[in-house]
Structures are given as structure tokens and as C-alpha cells.
């Protein structure tokens, strides 16, 4: 009898796992959150990625847009949790990487139905950096060649006119 109950329990467990195959309980990616939004709705999740754009301060709270490499999601954070000035990613910077734990909302009632995360804790897991531009020599050479070609066309035009 015990064996039957154990087997049945295992079957039910695996069956349920089969119904929600892609939901990883610990740290879902942004794509998983968007795709399985209904299943993750109102659950506490951990999400990490690079801060991009700007840190948008709105009174007692802050909006952070966190890109995990697949999509960027909006994270609503109590300003008290933001203890340092974050570097946000742009053309000239790679933003700080942070990990947040908070409540995932499929259609947040507080924010007009937005798919967002309300952070409960936040920690920095990687520092951002300034990206130094390396001048592309090939592009410089090509621009000189094209400038030469343009001058040639102009000179030929002058001869044609004469």
C-alpha cells in the first residue's frame, strides 16, 4: 500500500512539474517572467541584471530598469534600499549589476497594469565601468580613401567643364 501511495505521489509531483516545465523557482530570466507571467504573478522572485538608462527617482521610491541580457524589466524600489549611487549602462558605460528579491506583478495595480517587480531587498553583485572608446583605424583609413575618391570626381568634373 505504501509503495502505491509513494508511486502515486511521485507521479502527481512529476505530473505537476510537467505542467510548468520552464518555471525555475529561484531566479527566472526576464523572458521566463514575461512568458509565464500568470504563473509567477504575486510570487516572490529573485532577478538580476545590469541597470540601464538612468536611475529614475520619484520621491520616496526609485525606478530601476534592469536588463538581464534578454529584456529589461522595471523594478520599483524603496529609496531607502538604494544606499549608493549606481552607475547605469549606456553607450559609454556598463552599468552596475544588481540582484533584487521582490514581488513580481503581471499587471501591477499600483502602476497602471505594468509588468514589474516591487523589490524587497537589493544587493550589488558587480560593479559597472566606463567603456573607453578604441578608435577604429580601418574606418579612418576608409574615410581618407573615400575623400580621395571624392576629390578625384571633383577634379574630373572641372576638366569636363573646361
Amino acid at each position: 500500500m505504501k509503495k502505491i501511495i509513494l508511486t502515486a505521489s511521485l507521479l502527481i509531483l512529476f505530473g505537476l512539474m510537467g505542467l510548468v516545465p520552464a518555471i525555475s523557482a529561484q531566479a527566472p530570466t526576464s523572458s521566463e517572467l514575461i512568458k509565464y507571467a500568470k504563473q509567477y504573478d504575486s510570487r516572490i522572485i529573485t532577478y538580476s541584471g545590469e541597470i540601464i538608462g538612468e536611475v529614475l527617482r520619484q520621491g520616496e521610491f526609485v525606478w530601476l530598469n534592469i536588463n538581464d541580457g534578454e529584456n529589461a524589466l522595471g523594478v520599483w524600489v524603496d529609496a531607502g534600499l538604494v544606499k549608493e549611487v549606481f552607475l547605469a549602462g549606456s553607450y559609454k558605460t556598463r552599468g552596475d549589476r544588481i540582484e533584487i528579491t521582490g514581488v513580481f506583478n503581471r499587471a501591477c495595480a499600483q502602476h497602471g497594469g505594468e509588468l514589474d517587480i516591487h523589490a524587497q531587498s537589493l544587493r550589488k553583485i558587480g560593479s559597472g565601468r566606463i567603456v573607453k572608446e578604441k578608435l577604429n583605424v580601418d574606418k579612418i583609413n576608409l574615410s581618407f580613401i573615400l575623400l580621395g575618391a571624392l576629390l578625384l570626381v571633383w577634379i574630373l568634373t572641372l576638366f569636363k567643364h573646361k
Binding site: L56, Q58, G74, Y91, A109, G112, G113, K139, L150
Partner: protein
Amino acid sequence: MILKPHLEDVKIIGFYLGKIILGLAFTMLAPLLVSLCFGETNPALDFLLGIEISVLLGLLLIKICQTDKDLNWMQGMIVVSLSWVVAMILGAIPLFLSDHWKSFLDACFEAMSGFATTGLVLVQDLDHLSHAHNFWRHFIMFLGGQGIVVIALSFFVRGFSGAFKMYVGEARDEKIMPNVINTSRFIWLVSIVYLVLGTLALGLAGIFNGMKPVSAFFHGACIFMAAFDTGGFSPQSQSILYYHSFVYEIITMIIIVLGAFNFKLHYHLWMGNRKELVKNIETRTFFATVIATFVLVAVGLAQAGVYPAALTLFRKGFYQLISGHTGTGFQTIYAAQFVRDWNPLALSGIIIAMALGGAVCSTTGAIKMLRIGIIFKAFKEDLKRIIMPERAIVIEKFHHIREVFLEDKLVRGALMITLAYIILYGAGALVGMFYGYPFLEALFESTSAAANVGLSCGITNADMPVVLKITYILQMWAGRLEFMSVFTILGFLIARMEGK
């Protein structure tokens, strides 16, 4: 008997194409300036190369094809359709050089999407793209929205009679002023006045929202160009979701609707004729179709139960709807949510809205309100004929700036273009289905491309099949030019091969 085009035809086309290419090279100075302002060296080189290649090509065409002859109808149409293809290729050069697009085809897709004010994107890692390239993406929407030829007519052409032929070829058959050059300049005046006001409003909203002033106004200018020209690009990967702001949504909605109005209507409103807004067939039809399609979306969303609160449902549903109806493509939901969270009824409401579009002589694409209004009036006229006595004379009129009698010629024209659009939407959907996408999703993306909208349910991405990318490019091109100049180029090629 088909007459074979002469070498002289090719020369005339080449000469005027060269002039338009020079105009395009001139416009690349703007992103070059932006790159210098933000100290972005490699992007500056990308645009320098783009300018050099464009000037070289333009000068060569002008010199090789030197002529003093004016354009005829066929040549004017071909110049227009080729201008858009050449603009796509040249406009894609600086984009491709930035390494943010996986292939040159992807960069061409983005450039055509920009010029045709569509808004479908294939850019990689948009959140780390330079200011210069981002500005260029939005600026080409501003240029394409007004019309590439309109730019040339406004600034680089000193009145030749072929101007009107090129103007018509760019899907603008309405003259606001007595001549097209003044009409083009008026279109620019309207656009620039709104650019200043819109950027100011969005910039202030951005600052209020926590953005730094320089960034707020840069984003404001970019978003304005994409909104007024009903384009739909945005500087960040999350589209309008990035701002998390209801005020931003309201301002963009106002700009979008202004962009969807006929420039002729703008002229009359500027001249103090406010009644025109209420009387005009286009605004009336727009109002009716927005309500009708929103009912579909709202019922669909209520059935799906995604947004439990009515206000939330309205905010999300109405924004995507107005964005789709005007052919803009801004999103406040993620692309995958259309498929995962919205039900087929809500999705169908958006597809119908996208297929209808805004006003003629505006920056929108698709079938357009005037044609929908005319078709509706024709149905009404036929119904009256059935109901009323045989001897009764049935006359139908509509108001579009002035009172116009509904003639068969007008109805025929409206139905022809509508049919052509429906075929275009369907053809793209078939190609999508060939690659295994479900019908509704394939139709959604195809309609979005052909109607120059830019809303996506997730099909458009860098890994989609090459044939599908080319299909969408062709749809964006044909949809923006409203077929006539595209048909002319096909006719020209057939005549070149089979003519005598």
C-alpha cells in the same frame, strides 16, 4: 504594344536620383553633429563614411546622367520608389558600422522601418547604442514621415514641373498650397513647430520623472520624432515602458493623434477654421473606428482577465489601440504579452485598427480614413437606392475641407487601394505561416509591417528567416508609397525586357 524605355529615361531618372541622394547625405550631418556633441568618436566616423559614400554616389549619378530635361509621370514615380530603396541602403551604412546589427540586411530592415515610419526593430543591445546612432534612427523617421522627396522639394529643388509628379509618387496627392514646393515647406513648418513644442513637453515630463535634463530633452526629441511621424522607435529597448510614466503616455498619445491628422486639416486649424475638425469625414471616421475597435479590444481583454481593474484595462488597451490605429507602434506591454496575455478577440481588434490607419496626407500608413469613409458612404448610397423609389435620385456627399459629391471614380479609387492593402496584409501573413507561425500572429506582424505600424507580437527578431525579413521590407516599402510608384517601377522593368 509596350514601348521600351530609352537610355534618356534612365539618364533623367539617374540625374534626379543623384540630387535626392545628395539631399540624404546632407541630412547625415545632423547625427554627425550629435556624435561630436556627446564626444562619440567611432559613431562620428560611421556617419562621416556614410556621408562620403552618399556624396560620391550622388555626384557620380549627377555627372554621368547630366540632363536639363524635366521628369514625366513615369520617371517621377520611378525616382520616388528608387529613392526609398537607395535611402534604405545608404541610411543603413552608419547603422551597420556600429556593430549593433547582426547583418547588413538587418541594418537595411531597420533603415526601411525608420524611413517608412514603421518601427519594427532588429537592433541588438539597444540600451548601449550611441546617442548619434539612436538620433539617426529617430531622425530618419522624421525625414521619412514628411517624405524623402518632400525634403528634396523643400530645400534642394528650385521649382521644376516634375516636382508634383514626385510628390504624388510619395503617396501625397493633396496640395495644401497652390504649388507643391510651398506645400512641402508648409509640411515642414508644421512639423518643426510641433517638434519644438513636443520636445519641450516630453523633456519637462522626463525631468519631472527623474531624468537628467540633457537626457530628458534628448529622449524628448527622439520620442517626439517617432510619435509625430507615427514611427514607433524608442531610444531604449522597453519602448514607452522605460519611462514608467502616465504623463509620458498622455503626451505621446496627443502627439500621435496630431501626427495622424491630415496636414491639410492642420492648415485649416492653423487658419482658425476649427469647425473643420468636427465636420471632416476623416476625423469622424477616425473617431468611429477608434470606438469600434476599442470595443473589440476591451471585450477581449475583459474576457482574458489580464487587467482586473477597469482603469488599468483602459490604460493598457487604449494605448496599444491608438498606437496601432495611428500606425505608431509604441508599446506599454512586452511583445510576447500580446500572444500570452491578450486573447484572439483583443488581438483582432488591434489588427483591424492597424489595417485602417490614419488620415491621408499625414505621416501614417495603411488604408486610411478618407478611403474608409468613402467606402462607407458608397455602401450608404447603395442602401438608399435599394430602399427608395426607383425614380428617386440619390446623391451622397461628404465633407473633406469642402463639400464633395461621391462619384464612382472616387469609390473605385478607394476600393482599389483598399483591396491592394488587404492583399498585401494577406500575402505577408501567408509567408509568415509558411515559416510555421500561427495565423493570427503571422497576420498581426504582416499587417504591422505593411501598414507601417511597428507593433510586434514577437515574430520580428534578428533570428527570423531571411525571406521573412525581405518580405517585411517589401511590405513596408510598398505600404508607405501606396503602390503606385512601386507598380510603375515593375512596369518599367517589364517594358525594359519585353518592350519594342
